[in-house]
Symmetry: C2
Subunit: 403 residues, 2 copies
């Protein structure tokens, strides 16, 4: 159930359309800088987009940043209760001395602070440390087909302020929508010094090139095709900008298992994947096309042209329970293929009947995966509710800080 407070709708829509060079030719989508120079593998059938597996070297700065992110991440995971240096040392594998130094730096930066003392375990009691939530902020935005959501999140990933308003992505075109986006972000950040804003994450319907920040064709919105979204937003707001597919962003809307999926059932069906602790985007950053998994070759024809896609079966289901069951079957496939232990359900279709989806997905999972080797799988509804995508987009910015 969506427990967190959600954004109040606020219908106002300024924005003046003017033409800028944000468009790119759909032909040259790939960034040549992304390809490694020393790529002389002698395999016969070489995949086209063998993007740098980035086995990149690390220097002392990278080492320090890595350890700082590690510690910060552990402090965040501890929540308001706090953690002691001793616990940080044990969990990170670093020595107590190293932890002390790192904690000192983080404290000087204002990111963490002492938060009381723990019970003594026979000697000097541990000093507890916790995150200072509001020294840095991340902005998250969701460009929906009919809705724009903009919010501000603190370091713990909690939403502090936000607005949601109706738009017409296809009809208005990029300039008007982006101008509106920019105005709303400026309102959110009005009383904040710029150096305390880490950046902005913008979630959009796919497919897109996440790395380059360029949209591909957005079904039914030709004006957006080839838009250099990251550049466009970064230039207007002068903030570090990250672009992400909506369902992928959503998986970062809350902390969770290192092997989890966010199943986003809105106008389309997508899945955001975190596997082995890392967000998975795939070779062309299009991973998570969950809606067009074939679940029944004899099923109804889908708008994608194929037959028996999950999305088509779901749309054709006679009752809400039947629709939820279809989703459950697809989720069972997902869990089994990737060995997930957490599935978060979200998107408007789910939020319209959360109990039905929760119950049916759990039921199908229990039936399809009776073997204890595959249990338990935690199934829940996105705590951020309708803000999950935008909050996850903000989480994408926070992720830079936490490793």
């Amino acid at each position: 159930m969506p427990t967190a407070a959600s954004i109040p709708d606020s219908p106002d829509s300024p924005g003046s359309p003017d033409d800028r060079a944000d468009r790119t030719d759909p032909a040259d989508r790939t960034d040549p800088a992304d390809r490694t120079a020393t790529d002389r593998s002698n395999r016969t059938a070489r995949p086209a987009s063998a993007r740098a597996a980035a086995p990149t070297g690390a220097n002392l700065t990278a080492l320090r940043d890595h350890n700082a992110a590690t510690v910060l991440s552990l402090v965040r995971a501890a929540g308001a209760g706090g953690v002691s240096r001793v616990e940080l040392a044990r969990a990170s594998g670093l020595t107590a001395q190293a932890i002390s130094k790192i904690v000192q730096r983080l404290t000087e930066d204002g990111l963490i602070a002492e938060a009381g003392r723990g019970a003594s375990t026979g000697g000097k009691p541990r000093t507890l440390l916790s995150l200072v939530p509001d020294v840095r902020w991340a902005v998250g935005a969701q460009l929906g087909r009919d809705t724009l959501t903009v919010l501000r999140a603190d370091l713990t990933g909690r939403m502090a302020a936000g607005r949601r308003m109706p738009i017409d992505l296809a009809g208005w075109g990029p300039d008007r929508v982006l101008d509106l986006l920019v105005d709303q972000v400026r309102l959110l950040l009005a009383d904040l010094p710029g150096e305390r804003v880490l950046g902005i994450g913008v979630a959009s319907p796919g497919p897109l090139d996440q790395h380059a920040g360029v949209l591909h064709q957005v079904t039914g919105a030709p004006a957006w095709q080839g838009l250099r979204l990251r550049e466009a937003v970064a230039r207007r707001l002068e903030l570090p900008t990250v672009v992400e597919k909506d369902s992928t962003a959503a998986v970062l809307s809350a902390l969770g298992s290192p092997n989890r999926a966010f199943v986003h059932l809105d106008q389309g069906l997508g899945a955001g994947l975190v596997l082995g602790g890392a967000v998975q985007r795939g070779a062309r950053t299009n991973a998570g096309e969950f809606g067009h998994q074939t679940l029944d070759p004899g099923g109804p024809r889908c708008r994608c042209g194929a037959t028996g896609c999950v999305e088509a079966l779901w749309a054709a289901a006679p009752t809400p329970v039947a629709a939820a069951r279809i989703l459950g079957e697809a989720v069972a496939n997902l869990v089994r293929l990737l060995d997930l232990d957490e599935v978060v359900l979200g998107g408007r279709a789910v939020l319209a009947a959360p109990e039905v989806y929760l119950a049916e997905v759990r039921r199908v999972l229990a039936a399809r995966l009776p073997d204890p080797d595959w249990q338990p799988v935690a199934v829940s509804v996105a705590p951020a509710g309708p803000d999950a995508v935008a909050l996850g987009a903000a989480g994408l910015v926070l992720a830079r800080l936490f490793g």
Copy 2:
């Protein structure tokens, strides 16, 4: 097509059954040491096996090892042609000085050596470096239900020697099979000094706990249930030992795209996944259960109890082409969900009719994914042929060295 030379069959089977304490109670499968101590997340429905996301700290030793592995990996990727220090510096992001130091250390260890000079680009010609393949060896073994494969691979991942022999996994029981395994490995390593052997990787049918190295139930072979396979092998051979599921091991049998799958169609159907450059095992190290993806709820009943599993549909297919088409449909789902750009087909069922599978999978992929956003996907048959699983198990050991 399986081009590489494959292991000659050699039927001999010593091995004396004696009882050792390699068994573990199936109840205490999880290793308590794997769980983080500072795990006090306040989520309500916490997944049971939220194994340490391991945001572990790094010290200077780890930094050095990481950079050495990075460089070594780049040298390996360059193949026999070699790479220069300058290219290594550019690809790794390290300075030329750092590369020089690292190269010096690696050369002293005998892992790499100079391999001629490149053409001058206007000044002193570059000194080319390449891997010395046979200074270290990795052993790979596949415990099949009816076959034992044991081989030795050099640093480039090429098989140097190996044997394959029939066994009866269920009938013989662990001790006889493991004794045979140990004898065969000793034969393979007879003329090698121990310090040049990096370790052994053992692939087995799943499910298993890869991290703990403990088998779960092996269908039809109750004597193997709960066997501490890693400990048992490590104790007998006194070598670093890694255990892996067969299909997961196979994905490491050759270098390839950072987003690829090895589809292993043998007695069962499994998939080994490399996503984002990392092998994916999932929450309970059971990822890749590809055979029991539901592809047609109205289909025939599977031995797993459900209906319409890929495996059941495949088995029920009237012709080899129809069977290959089923696999193609399942692979199309996989490619679309994870955005893969490379799929390798292997296992005896594929190797029995490689052209049929290759053609059908390619055909279905082209039909199911007409959108250029999803192309090209390189589809091939495992170059290592029947040795893919064992070679991948050896690759698992090599992976330690290459990062």
